[in-house]
Symmetry: C2
Subunit: 355 residues, 2 copies
DNA sequence: CGGTTTTTCGTTATCGTTTACGAAAACCGC
DNA sequence: GCGGTTTTCGTAAACGATAACGAAAAACCG
């Protein structure tokens, strides 16, 4: 139990702690609370001499301002909310790390919520987090609609979308060009000599659709005819983990006649499951089927068959989002929203190396 | 910019938002602020009729209490601080997830800090987080000393250590029995017929030492003589990533005469690096060298050679820590500290399957 | 029906800080 | 020395909620 006093030490088995407030320092030095506050925030209207005196005492007493109280009056909490579908997921983990490292510079802290890919949970979490009066939200929404995003906007809290944007919903955004992602992967498979390229697509969202679009663009550019049954769906992240979804999708692909000789997967986890299933079925990768994933998760290079993957620049997404937040919070009334679209990068490994 | 008013709508390109306060609801219904507060917190001293009336209005206006203000007066912030060396690390990621999911039930939120395995940064982060007046800290410290932990205790904030405890520093703790971890891995290698078992040890901390102790215990139990040069160090997490550290350690191991036929690694990432290096050197795993890691990271089963690993129950650690926090915060003055020691579990895969 | 208890609700103070404003002190030029 | 700045500091009022206390209203009881 923190006690407000200047005694510090052990009495019996109880330890008394001091919780120093502005008031205490002011009283000790015989100045007013406001003067101490001014010294701490480096305000101009204070004499150098008194400032030095105060800062010395502040340091000696190990004073730390109560940010809760400050927040109440200034309306700034120095807290940023991060809402992602899954904290364990390497992609979002990297984003969190990029964010956190950059935000640290300005002493912002991250309040995280892992929505477990459950739309209702996400909405609920946003609702609760709003009560904490965060300075800004960073969201990779797992919802089909924009309900949770709108709640944030309605509350007047700045918002940065990462990874997924929502057509029709104006907002700041940081992510990669997903059409380019699809093109990069597919062009590569074509260049490797694949003739029949399948795609395990992601959910029906802006991202999933954009990747399919890129996939089609590349095929068209090389006059390969698009076959609808070569694009197989594998459900949502909320259905089951990516790996089993990848396995199931591979079942379908194995049944296709003629069998595809190239495969572009929505992400590395799905690719992993698909590859495992294909290997079990006796296929050799890449000889019988070249595979490219997406996300370049850090373990993708260590797999049974090291996986080619399109890097989504997750760390950079986090860092750029952090920069955007800082800009947003420094000069608040910038009505129009900004977008940062990063270029994806293909990393080639054994799973698609045919030449 | 949130405006305090009851107008809501679009004027030109500006949207006005309402920030509803207790005061507003009270004014609308002609009751006092305290009455509304009581209704919201389900206090007994309020008539059912007025309560219903208030709750209806609260719902209709979409009121959310300002937790910052509440926190200031109650001294409870509903925020839990999580300090880990690395957010991306699957082990800590799982802990974060376990914590977050459990804490959600009581509407606690997680403020995270990834210290990047930098002791100074950790200290700094703790210092700053203290200013936010969190209700409790969960820490996996990367420091050699207990300085950051002591700062938390001195501030009178409840503390739960996870993964690593510090002998001599009394505190709540949730983790696995690390001596058992070492025993489990080593006993298994012995049972598989390994005669010369090496160990890539972790940093010189309670954990690293305990695992070595378990390793020695198992050897002794089977009358295998302990050779000091079979225990190779690989530096600290802050030096470089586990994988390259594992590779470097394997260099040393490959130079040992006679060459070990079994290897127990401090964690899966190190094991991964070590295995990669061994494979490059032409060794076959497990035939020439059986390998067991620790942590059972979710990708360990998907590696080139699926890796046997001692599961550290990371998710459960998070959940148990969450439970402990709730207990701590409900009945505060429990002076003595509690420990939860979980049993590790060995998961056998190809990397060590000899029989 | 008076007195006591119980229920219900309002008043006031408080949490630790910042903002707005104004007063005193110091400085300045003439 | 006297008006007018400028510097330095203090007072008072927030911020949005809860805690402690007490008063009015209602209910109960003999």
């Amino acid at each position: 139990m923190p006690t407000k006093c200047f005694i510090r030490g052990v009495i019996g088995s109880y330890t008394l702690f001091m919780v120093v407030r502005l008031k205490d320092i002011a009283a000790e030095l015989g100045v007013s609370v406001v003067t101490v506050s001014r010294a701490l925030r480096n305000r101009p209207d204070i004499a150098e001499e008194t400032k030095a005196k105060i800062l010395e005492r502040v340091k000696r007493l190990n004073y730390r301002p109560n940010l809760t109280a400050r927040s109440l009056v200034t309306g700034r909490s120095s807290l940023i909310g991060l809402v992602v579908p899954d904290l364990i997921h390497p992609f979002f983990g990297e984003i969190a790390k990029g964010l956190s490292n950059k935000l640290r510079e300005k002493e912002y802290y991250l309040l995280v919520s892992s929505s477990e890919s459950d739309p209702d949970l996400e909405q609920n979490e946003v609702e609760h987090m709003l009560a904490h009066h965060l300075d800004c939200f960073v969201v990779a929404s797992c919802r089909k609609d924009t309900d949770s995003l709108r709640r944030i906007s309605e509350a007047g809290v700045p918002l940065v979308l990462v990874d997924r944007s929502f057509p029709g919903f104006r907002s700041n955004f940081v992510g990669v060009d997903d059409v380019k992602v699809g093109e990069l992967a597919t062009e590569h498979l074509i260049a490797q000599g694949c003739k029949r390229i399948a795609h395990i697509r992601g959910p029906v969202t802006s991202i999933g659709d954009a990747r399919v679009e890129g996939y089609r663009n590349a095929l068209q550019r090389h006059r390969i005819k698009f076959a609808a049954n070569y694009v197989v769906a594998c459900g949502e992240a909320s259905d089951s983990d990516g790996e089993t979804r990848g396995r199931r999708a591979m079942e379908e692909i194995l049944a296709l006649k003629p069998r595809p000789d190239g495969l572009f997967c929505f992400n590395d986890t799905i690719a992993l499951g698909a590859m495992e299933r294909a290997l079990e079925a006796g296929l050799r990768i890449p000889q019988n089927m070249a595979v490219v994933g997406c996300g370049n998760f850090h373990y993708s290079s260590k797999l049974r068959v090291p996986l080619s993957s399109v890097d989504q620049k997750s760390r950079e997404i986090g860092e750029r989002a952090a920069k955007m937040i800082m800009a947003l919070l420094e000069k608040p009334p910038s009505a129009r929203s900004r977008s940062v679209i990063l270029e994806p990068e293909l990393i080639v490994r054994e799973s698609s190396k045919l030449k």
